[in-house]
């Protein structure tokens, strides 16, 4: 059973979080690319809290006894999706850092060669 109190608390939390999220994107603190899933999560929770019947349908479809549990499940699934997208992002970032470090190392060597060449020709 989703009570009106739960509904209101969830709605308030979701709206506050979305507000903070949108403000951070607008101030270039968050990349839109990495915030898409969060926006989707916020949008989803707004629909679920305003129209709790959708949660009842999902609970019935998945044979979950209480709709609140279905809400938990949906929340966890969303979080798994976000964590997974972060894993992908971290892998890309660490690959790029590796490439940058290697490039920088090679450049340092080239630079020291140039400096030595300069000194020898002074």
């Amino acid at each position: 059973m989703i009570t009106i109190r739960l509904q209101l608390v969830l709605l308030a939390l979701t709206i506050i979080s979305l507000f903070i999220l949108i403000r951070m994107i607008a101030r270039y603190k968050l990349d839109l690319k990495y915030s898409l899933l969060w926006l989707l999560l916020g949008g989803g929770f707004i629909i679920f809290t305003i129209f709790p019947t959708t949660v009842y349908y999902i609970a019935k479809f998945l044979s979950i006894e209480t709709p609140t549990n279905a809400l938990f499940l949906l929340g966890i699934l969303f979080l798994i999706a976000i964590v997974f997208s972060l894993t992908i992002a971290i892998s890309n970032a660490s690959n790029n850092i590796k490439k940058l470090s290697q490039e920088l190392g090679v450049l340092k060597l080239e630079l020291s060669k140039l400096k030595k060449f300069d000194k020898d020709n002074m």
């Binding site: 607008a26 101030r27 270039y28 839109l32 690319k33 490439k99």
Partner: protein, 235 residues
């Protein structure tokens, strides 16, 4: 004399880059030009072909995507004190004979940025039906949210003056930068004009936006445009 930097972002364009550079070199421009190729971590011979031709290449160690690559060009333009910078895509869609034409309004002081639009005269390569539909939707979005009348918001064939070079060197959108940067510049109070150009279909290589990505593209660009709408001028 006014100096113009031609920024060519290229990712795996070995089939197109040589003819593009040859055609730029065959034109005698009214202003002083320099070409710089931003090689966005290509896996083919793009970089070595440019070096063979004696063109300056910036080889990015990581693939940054079109936004990051083009911004590298603007940073180079700022560092080397260019008056104007034009983006010409490495896929050969943009015909360099139009460079003088789209630079003209800036030299006359009529605009801060000029976009080469293929939808004013509606001749030449017009892109696929699906993309035209998407582009029309983006026009509608931009034209209702700003006071602009843009016909080709996804065109990368664009020239800008020094004030915009400085602006872009600080902040340039990352992934699909063209429509978002129009909003950004308008918010900052720059004047944007369009000039009619004829574009070619890409000859070799593949486009970075395929059908799968186009839905993601539309959602992301729409959101980016909305977010820019709610931004204050100081950001």
């Amino acid at each position: 004399m006014t100096s113009l930097l031609i920024i060519i972002p290229a990712y795996n364009e070995e089939e197109n880059i040589r003819s593009l550079i040859d055609s730029i070199r065959s034109i005698s421009f009214k202003i002083k030009i320099e070409i710089i190729v931003i090689n966005d971590c290509s896996t083919d011979r793009t970089s070595s072909i440019c070096k063979e031709l004696g063109i300056k290449v910036i080889d990015l160690p990581c693939n940054l995507g079109i936004g990051g690559a083009v911004q590298t060009g603007y940073k180079y333009a700022k560092e080397n004190n260019f008056d104007l910078a034009i983006q010409v895509d490495g896929d050969g869609q943009h015909d360099p004979v139009y460079i003088d034409k789209i630079v003209e309004p800036i030299l006359e002081g009529k605009a801060d940025m000029v976009i080469g639009s293929r939808y004013i005269d509606k001749s030449g390569f017009q892109s696929t039906r699906l993309r035209r539909f998407g582009i029309r939707y983006l026009c509608l979005l931009i034209n209702t949210l700003t006071d602009l009348k843009i016909t080709d918001p996804t065109s990368g064939f664009r020239v800008c003056n020094k004030r915009i070079i400085d602006q872009f060197a600080i902040n340039y959108p990352k992934d699909y930068p063209e429509p978002e940067s129009i909003m950004y510049l308008r918010r900052k109070g720059f004047t944007i004009k369009e000039e009619a150009v004829v574009m070619n279909e890409r000859v070799g290589g593949t486009s970075s936006i395929n059908l799968n990505r186009s839905i993601y593209y539309m959602i992301k660009v729409s959101l980016a445009i909305f977010f820019d709408k709610i931004r204050k001028e100081s950001f």
